[in-house]
């Protein structure tokens, strides 16, 4: 079973040289710590920044310089600022190569639910609906099951949708899966996790084809 940092490490293997990447709040943010050496990845923050750097040092926080999670950040050489229309414009136009975000549920067709739980206070979708409707390459980072132990990989999402047919890949604490026309295709399993356990915790259709290697991080 992977911990959050290990999930981020595995996700980082999907980064390619030259990629522009949007990382969501939570585990996806951690991916920035594991960008492979020797490749250049530029982080987009949808509030209007390309070239996001690390958090600032104590005393160097700048109230005018935050990320989409409202955290103080820094910039890297080659960064640029722009307004929110251009920011979502480049997202919609497919200029962002990879989007990694969290989810409450993913369906076997790649639908995603991550913004609303009926009956609870609704905070809003922020930029999530724009991101999932636009990006060509969307990877979800999440726990395989919810705190009650119920599968988050479902035949159909039960929660209100954020977007439809958009998730391409899932990296969970248990496995790496591709979303295919036939369902969730198991690609890799976490060290020490059996195919049986993954099958038991995947409510949607799971395809296991051949031997499944362990995740290498």
């Amino acid at each position: 079973m992977l911990n959050k940092n290990q999930i981020a490490q595995r996700l980082a293997k999907e980064l390619k040289d030259g990629y522009y990447v949007n990382l969501g709040i939570g585990i996806p943010t951690l991916v920035a710590n594991y960008i492979p050496a020797g490749i250049k990845v530029t982080l987009q923050s949808e509030n209007g920044l390309l070239g996001m750097g690390a958090f600032p040092l104590e005393g160097e926080e700048d109230a005018d310089l935050i990320n989409a999670g409202k955290q103080t950040i820094t910039t890297l050489p080659g960064s640029s600022f722009f307004d929110s229309a251009m920011s979502f414009g480049m997202i919609r136009a497919g200029k962002v190569d990879l989007t990694i975000l969290g989810a409450m549920e993913v369906s076997e067709r790649g639908d995603i639910a991550n913004w609303k739980i009926p009956g609870k206070m609704v905070k809003g979708m922020g930029g999530a609906m724009d991101l999932v409707a636009s990006a060509k390459n969307i990877i979800v980072a999440m726990m395989h099951t919810n705190p009650k132990g119920e599968s988050k990989l479902l035949p159909n999402c039960l929660l209100p949708l954020t977007g439809i047919g958009c998730v391409k890949m899932i990296v969970s604490d248990l496995a790496v899966l591709a979303v295919t026309p036939e369902g969730f295709k198991l690609l890799e399993r976490a060290p020490g996790v059996s195919i049986e356990e993954i099958r038991a915790k995947t409510a949607g259709k799971l395809i296991v084809d051949g031997s499944i290697p362990e995740i290498e991080i």
Binding site: D64, D83, S87, M129
Partner: protein, 231 residues
């Protein structure tokens, strides 16, 4: 033709009850602090506010919510705001949540004279309910309309007496879009300079979009999520 006002109170003096107001900013970053303070003091009621967020309990649009000045909030994310939640659940406050890119683009559409735009955001979700769906190149899009706002309150870093504006870093966000979209756009700036002092090549909002401008004061520029690294 003088666009320069002394302060927020005089600049917003004609905002009436029931007005639709756009407010720039993302979270508490780049919000029109002085205009908000002035509208709270003026106690204008039944406002429809268009803003990406709704402030926090004791700052930003949260101050207007405290005074129950907001009838309807149009936003993409309303975050941590207990009074907001209370008013919403009690039915005092009407809330329309829309995707952030849709919010931004509907502002831009207004400023660019485009009555409506197409966006894929929200297709297949409850955001699409009642909306026209149209397919282009095998992809579905929602038709979304340009906003129609009586006023836009925006905050810039520098401005000149002709209304030209320059924003700083990510405090730009929705400000230039709302500046273009307001029927009357009121800009508050950290530094107001005579026309000609800003580099014409680096203006983010040309003065044609700005009807009133004043130098703000007492900026708090609160940080919502102060996050630092060790070394």
């Amino acid at each position: 033709m003088n666009k320069v006002f002394d302060n927020a109170a005089t600049a917003i003096a004609d905002v009436q009850d029931g007005a639709t107001i756009m407010l720039g900013g993302f979270g508490l970053c780049g919000i029109p602090e002085n205009c908000i303070t002035a509208i709270v003091k003026k106690a204008t009621k039944n406002l429809i506010c268009i803003s990406n967020n709704a402030g926090v309990d004791d700052f930003g649009i949260g101050l207007m919510l405290q005074q129950k000045q907001v009838k309807k909030m149009i936003a993409s994310y309303v975050g941590e705001n207990a009074e907001f939640e209370r008013q919403l659940l009690s039915g005092e406050l009407d809330v329309e949540l829309i995707p952030q890119g849709t919010l931004a683009t509907r502002c831009m559409a207004a400023g660019y004279g485009m009555p409506a735009i197409f966006t894929p955001a929200g297709v297949g979700t409850e955001v699409a309910i009642g909306k026209e769906v149209r397919t282009f190149n095998n992809k579905e899009y929602l038709l979304e309309y340009a906003f129609d706002a009586d006023f836009a309150f925006v905050k810039a870093w520098k401005g000149d007496t002709d209304g030209n504006l320059i924003y700083k870093e990510t405090a730009r966000n929705f400000n230039p879009l709302m500046a273009m979209a307001g029927k009357i756009t009121i800009a508050e700036v950290e530094e107001l300079v005579p026309a000609g002092e800003l580099d014409a090549n680096n203006i983010h909002t040309p003065g044609i979009y700005v009807h009133r401008i004043f130098q703000g004061s007492g900026y708090q520029k609160r940080i919502e999520q102060r996050t630092v690294r060790k070394t």
